[in-house]
């Protein structure tokens, strides 16, 4: 019998969970103490998830209306606390779950990032991952004293050099703790580093590399470096298969084994006791039209540096450009001819699986059989109620079908990720 297993991960950030619903508890105020995220990590570990991915950004957005009103009203970009400070807390609370933290190659000094992840890999005993981003917002650059970010493809060139530099650092760490600690000097066109490696080789040698990015330049980067790639291209089996096949050929072109890149598709299953109940939930989500339009236009505007507050909702799109999140912008505009249509379609785009734990598990297995792999990144409202539906409803249904792991067989994130 063929191994049909695929991987599961969860998309999060160190930010507030939904706070204004009937099932929100008190976490809307208390999440900064980390306990909500610790509970979350333990539940994901109980369900044998490969990893929790902590997204990040470095700004309060004022792109919409030239004000931070919409960003802060909905908690879109901010508040968002430092995921690298949360990672050791999550590592201390778990034994098997992978923890992936986002850091930008545009802002993190390379010797600081290299040392931090070296320690994090040791602390977690080989369960740390780095979500590599180049950032895309000029507002973030300005927080670091820079007027604006470099152009999209140039950021990837810089990131290539950056990854090369920190890899030199990690691979120079001695295997034998008794060996002397080496110094690393890097003098590249963009990246300079002069550092002493602070200790012996970490369990994984280097963190697992995670990435989201679908532009041609981003795909090349993924082919060369990435261990696990996250993508929103999950709406139809054909586009999923095309995307995954393309990433695999990028890896092959870079001289790597295509199986060394695990592509995870973002999805937000809606679950109910019956199929009718799940569909009713979906209808209720779709009915919240006004807040979905405003928060989606605020979100897309912030991601792509466009003020969408003044655009007429029911007229065709004007010409929109962006220096970041290019794939996201194109994807958004593909959901309709007008901002209203696009916002309503895009905000529900991750909703594909709607049903009972058993019916959704069956469907997910069929999709993966069709696409070829490699798994799903669950994204959506981070409430305890939704978490329980996934970890205690959907995952056991997937496990009964032999579609996901029922235990962790290896000690490190990379080994578990590469197992199938």
């Amino acid at each position: 019998m063929p191994d049909r297993r695929f991987h599961l991960a969860w998309f999060m950030n160190f930010s507030n969970p939904p706070w204004n619903g009937q099932w929100a508890g008190r976490d809307g105020r208390e999440w900064p103490n980390g306990k909500f995220h610790v509970d979350f990590a333990r539940a994901l570990e109980r369900a044998c998830f490969d990893y929790m991915m902590l997204e990040d950004s470095s700004m309060v957005s004022d792109q919409y209306e030239g004000s931070s009103r919409v960003d802060l009203k909905y908690g879109l970009y901010a508040p968002k606390h430092d995921p690298v400070m949360l990672a050791p807390v999550l590592a201390a609370a778990t034994r098997h779950l992978g923890i992936v933290a986002t850091c930008s190659t545009s802002f993190y000094p390379p010797e600081i990032l290299a040392r931090r992840f070296h320690t994090l890999d040791h602390l977690s005993r080989g369960r740390i991952g780095w979500n590599i981003v180049t950032s895309s917002e000029d507002r973030a650059a300005q927080n670091f004293g820079l007027p604006r970010l470099p152009e999209h493809d140039k950021r990837y060139e810089m990131a290539d050099e950056y990854v090369d530099a920190v890899e030199q650092y990690w691979s120079a760490a001695p295997v034998d703790p008794a060996d002397p600690l080496p110094s690393i000097q890097v003098k590249g066109s963009y990246v300079r580093m002069d550092a002493t490696v602070p200790g012996p080789r970490s369990p994984q040698g280097r963190p697992v590399y995670c990435q989201a990015g679908g532009s041609p330049r981003g795909r090349r980067f993924a082919g060369e470096h990435t261990d696990t790639l996250l993508t929103g291209a999950g709406s139809g089996n054909r586009s999923m298969k095309e995307f995954r096949d393309d990433i695999r050929s990028c890896a092959a072109a870079a001289g790597r084994d295509p199986d060394a890149v695990k592509v995870l598709f973002i999805t937000s299953p809606i679950l109910g006791d019956t199929i009718e109940e799940a569909r009713a939930k979906r209808r209720a989500m779709e009915a919240a039209i006004d807040s979905r339009i405003e928060s989606t236009l605020g979100h897309i505007g912030a991601l792509t540096d466009n003020d969408l507050s003044g655009v007429p909702l029911d007229e065709p799109f004007g010409d929109l450009k962006t220096n970041g999140h290019r794939t996201t912008l194109a994807d958004f505009m593909s959901y309709g001819d007008t901002p209203r249509e696009a916002a309503l379609g895009w905000s529900m785009k991750n909703v594909r699986f709607v049903g009972t734990p058993d019916s959704v598990a069956e469907e997910m297995g069929e999709v993966m059989d069709d696409v070829g792999g490699d798994g799903f990144l669950i994204s959506g409202g981070i409430t305890r109620r939704y978490l329980a539906e996934i970890t205690d409803g959907l995952v056991p249904a997937l496990q009964r079908r032999g579609l996901v792991r029922s235990n962790y067989e290896y000690a490190t994130l990379r080994e578990n990720l590469m197992q199938f």
């Binding site: 160190f14 507030n16 706070w19 204004n20 008190r26 105020r29 208390e30 900064p32 103490n33 980390g34 950004s57 470095s58 700004m59 309060v60 004000s67 931070s68 009103r69 960003d71 802060l72 009203k73 909905y74 908690g75 901010a78 508040p79 968002k80 606390h81 430092d82 690298v84 400070m85 949360l86 990672a87 050791p88 807390v89 590592a91 201390a92 609370a93 802002f107 993190y108 000094p109 010797e111 600081i112 040392r115 931090r116 070296h118 320690t119 040791h122 602390l123 005993r125 507002r139 300005q142 927080n143 670091f144 004293g145 703790p177 600690l181 002493t196 602070p198 200790g199 012996p200 970490s202």
Partner: protein, 313 residues
């Protein structure tokens, strides 16, 4: 301060005459073989932190050494393993961009319910103008969110009131940052700067520190290295007091030093990097000091309030 319904916080103890008793973990010569604090997975640090917490020590000042685990990755782990012990982290103003430092410390202060302090380290800390600008910028970033910005207005569906969050548009000689920060205001407002004075070569101390480590004036935290195998008394060039002799003599001399200088407290700095050396101080000296009224078993709470109470005495 206001707390959400159902949130229990340690209340700050009323001001007493107790000085602060803390621990300064400087880079150490551990003799042959690696010291326990060199363990790359930081299990030595978590061991130390839990021992200090059990003994009622108020705070642990992490060292800024270039070797060993990264103190900013170790600090959250220490916080996760303790409930009362405060942790003070080193920050290099040349290496770490101020926006990143402000955010990391703010995040940590939230994780620790206000048990976090920080200090500047590295060559940048010795340049007074640069160091002052860095400190100023971090405090402005923390203040870019009002303490009551999180409104959670259910009727209007407003999570954060944007009129209480502002850019800072900071342009200095060494640093620039537009702001605002993207974290909620830290529980302590501005986590306290607990700045080592360093050696006599250091230029003027960094302005507006909340406490000084080393030195021997009012508001300072004396750094004391107890030595139990010899009767000595000396001060090293970096301001550390070496006190030798039986435990009772060390306690007496320390009491006299505190009275003579008006210092706010004492940071014990162990003489070696072994578990045995640390255990000796934690198991024997710390209880003897507490018994003599030099520090009291920590009741926890915000580090800022504890420092304020100690400097008022």
């Amino acid at each position: 301060m206001t707390t959400a319904p159902g949130v229990t916080r340690h209340t700050t103890p009323p001001s007493t005459d107790d000085p602060i008793l803390g621990w300064f973990q400087a880079p150490l010569d551990s003799g042959p073989g690696p010291g326990f604090l060199d363990r790359p997975d930081a299990t030595g640090h978590t061991w130390l932190a839990t021992q200090l917490e059990c003994a009622g020590v108020e705070m642990l000042v992490l060292d800024g050494a270039e070797a060993g685990p990264d103190p900013l990755a170790v600090a959250p782990l220490v916080v996760a393993h303790t409930e009362r012990l405060a942790v003070v982290v080193p920050v290099d103003p040349v290496g770490l961009p101020p926006w990143m430092a402000a955010r990391a410390i703010a995040t940590l202060d939230h994780l620790a319910d206000g048990r976090v302090g920080w200090y500047l380290t590295g060559p940048g800390a010795d340049c007074t103008e640069r160091a002052n600008e860095y400190v100023d910028l971090l405090r402005r970033l923390w203040a870019s969110w009002d303490a009551d910005a999180l409104v959670m207005d259910r009727a209007a569906n407003v999570y954060v009131d944007h009129t209480k969050v502002r850019p800072i548009d900071f342009t200095g000689r060494f640093y620039a940052s537009r702001g605002p920060l993207n974290t909620l205001r830290p529980p302590q407002g501005a986590p306290p700067l607990v700045q080592p004075l360093g050696g006599p070569d250091r230029a003027a101390p960094i302005g507006n520190s909340d406490a000084f480590v080393g030195g021997a004036g009012p508001g300072h935290l004396l750094v004391v290295t107890p030595v139990t195998d010899a009767v000595v008394e000396d001060t090293t060039p970096d301001g550390t007091h070496l006190l030798g002799g039986p435990v009772a003599r060390i306690v007496d001399r320390l009491a006299a030093l505190l009275t003579g200088t008006g210092a706010a407290g004492v940071l014990l700095r162990p003489a070696d990097g072994t578990r045995r050396g640390a255990s000796e101080l934690i198991d024997e000296l710390v209880p003897a000091l507490h018994a003599a009224g030099i520090g009291a078993p920590s009741a926890g709470g915000m580090l800022r309030s504890r420092l304020t109470a100690a400097t008022r005495r």
